[in-house]
Amino acid sequence: MAVEIGGIGQSVKRKEDARFIRGKGKYVDDVKLPGMLYMDIARSPLAHARIRKIDTSKALAIPGVVAVITGKDLVPLNLHWMPTLMSDKQMVLPTDTVLYQAQEVAAVVATERYIAADGVDAIEVDYEPLPVVVDPIKALQPGATLVREDREQKDNHIWHWEVGDRAGTDRAFADADVVVKQDLYIPRIHVSSIETCGIVASFDKVEGKLTVWMTTQAPHAIRTVIALVAGHLGLAEHKIRVISPDIGGGFGGKVPVYPGYVLAIGASVLTGVPVKWIEDRAENIQADSFARDYHISAELASKKDGTMQALRVKTIADHGAFDAAANPSKYPAGLFHIITGSYPFEKSFVEVDGAYTNKPPGGIAYRCSFRVTEAAFTIERLVDVLALKLGRDPAELRMQNFIPPTAFPYTSSLGWEYDSGDYGRALRLAMDTIGYADLRKEQAEKRKRGELMGIGISSFTEIVGAGPSKNFDILGIKMFDSAEIRVHPTGKVMVRLGVKSQGQGHETTFGQIVAEELGIPVADIAVEEGDTDTAPYGLGTYASRSTPVAGGATAIAARKIREKAKLIAAHLLEANPDDIEWKDYKFQVKGVPSKSKTMQEVAFAAYTNHPQGMEAGLEAVDYYDPPNLTYPFGSYICVVDLDRGTGEVKIRRFVAVDDCGTIINPMIVEGQIHGGLTMGLAPALYEQINYDEQGNIQGGTFMDYLLPTAMETPNWETAKTTTPSPHHPIGAKGVGESATVGAPAAIANAVVDALAHLGVRHIDIPITPWKVQKILKENGVAE
């Protein structure tokens, strides 16, 4: 029975596969409308420059070019700037100054994609170069080149934010037996979903209605943003329909509103015909929002016996030219204060300063709740630095310090209330799975022979499920999410959600939640998302929030239906509702299993034979504002071998033990972990976007921005423990991001561990072969 239903805990094969394996997915670039025009964007080659003149005449002379839009054209419409979520504003097109390389300068609209590209090539811009500042630390020094002349405040400081007990922490450090300090730079990276961003905007002049197909993780929020930004042009919320069709990966990169979207909408409104804009990969990497770029200085105080006591962290956050962070929390550094991780620090203090530089604006999370990876990497590196200082085994030191299972719910010294956890169990399982003790022996023997292997651990605590309205909002809108469930007379179900899958398999997993709650086979449940005309209002999918928030809404909406269904079942069974129980996916008269009704029978009755005085139909809506976030966790162990000649790092094994509470679909969860681990591997060893002193992007295409292939990616080994969330309706915590959060520290710790006997304490990621080889050479152990 259970298998047939496909409820919670079953590895149900994905429903969405049917179209994707046939090439029948519908992504934004697949949308083609009659008379549609194509837009392409001219971008600045310079990182900071005054625009003296934009000559569009040659572009306009190309047959097929319909129009060219510059910043000056947007001024009368008041669309040359747009607000960001961070109370900053961002240029749509510049009117006089460009602030970063690849910034949008003009848009060309043409009858064909190829002609639009020719038009871009034909635009001549006369730039006067201005001094460039790319380093946020230099940017915050007095006399630094001013990035934002438009602001009243004439420096590059955006905001200061601090949390925790400064004085108490300082005292704890002053009194501590042992203090370790480590500076870490977590470089700029880019999500680089294989599908880039794009939009088809179609404005119907007669109806005054705008329809957009758009690569967005949050269609409803986008509709509201459009209404707020362009409301003065008559685009009211009921006249805007945002459709987020199939999305080719998001990872946070498809949360923001990029200028290209606004330009395409503007072009469609002005021309009255549909306009398509699909960015190419160079535009995607170079101009779309980045992640990370945190300069961190972290200190940890402990007793001689290794008991951790206090944590003090100072950080400079590089936000580029505009603070356009896709950060729905109330804190400018997102959830960075989860940095106390899996350890019960008595005192801690974190301060972050935001800085403007001549770099593209941002940032976004890159598959984590905002700034959680930065936090997890820092604490898990710092624990290893402490272990080295004390001469302790890093696993043992973690075990000694973990917040014990009995302490949950646990409130951290920085104010987060952890829902549940059993950190020791996860680490023990990881150690047993990988054979930790034997690996340590092997390492000791190898060291004697001059061979370099390392073992790295990361026992991270995540924080996901944005989120409770006390911590989160977007433009004041609380971060609830929604589900609307309709059971049709024949017992088939339509579920509509406010979130939007980008590959997570919502059509399957949300069907399973409903199947579990209603006893209707998952095959009979259709899940729809991403169309603001039909779906209930929701804030979208990112920060691993779909399961914690929309999953909660779905379960509760289904339970509302079950409550009503129970009354109908009682009516059909001629029993008192109090005598009806939900058992084996059926309504039964208590103690009389033969007297039962299936949900299908009840559904039919809901339209044909419901009790007198009851409303017909069987449907429910729930808007769920979670009482708390959820705190998935895990322990990862990585084994690396280093090549003493080339400095290459080879990952031999990687065991990931994750605990994400109740698992809805084990197959999908495992797939999410595989993907997350690979996006943890990527910044640890490969990916980085760098800038030279002129602000030139280094790593702006897939030729130079190195996504790991199947050859660099190890065969991930996974295992799990299950510690349900006590406050979530089905006990689930969310899992999409855990592995990305946890993996980088495990890999970096493994490489440092391989070199620890040489006195190495830290290597900044990405750990390139030349960084390793330099250490080998300096210590005389290179081949």
Binding site: G23, D29, D30, A67, E195, R281
Partner: protein
Amino acid sequence: MAVATAPTTSRGQRTHKIHVTVNGVPHDVEVEARTLLVHFLRENLNMTGTHIGCDTTNCGACTVLLNGRAVKSCTVFAVQADQATVATVEGLEKDGKLHPIQEGFHQEHGLQCGFCTAGMMMTAVAFLATNPKPTELQIREAISGNLCRCTGYVNIVKSIDHAARVMRETAEGKA
């Protein structure tokens, strides 16, 4: 917005007549020389199952079979496919029956967002034709020109192995 005064339709570029057989269906079309094969498939033939991911011959989302070989169709001009056969993801299912590679990706959860999937499957189809009994490492090598951001490759490798097994069994059954 500066609006063009020039005529908005005509193009000055010389076009070339090509004859291409895509998934068994012949097409005679005129294309500009610079038209990339992937745009020809997507725009001229409305076959949108083949995707564009990187533009620089790195990601393999646009992989199709050109005369039976897996190539990145964003780095081939449509004119080069004159007189050639092209196979795309849309041609994998035959008579309502999924190709074993499609079954493999579904059974082993070899896809998430689905964007790289067509390219991965086309690469795998060509690969399995030359290597029906691959090792895990050989599968990984074979797909090393296709990038996936969602799956971490583990299940893609399993999917291809699954298909190889099914295809071998089918071949044995016929023999």
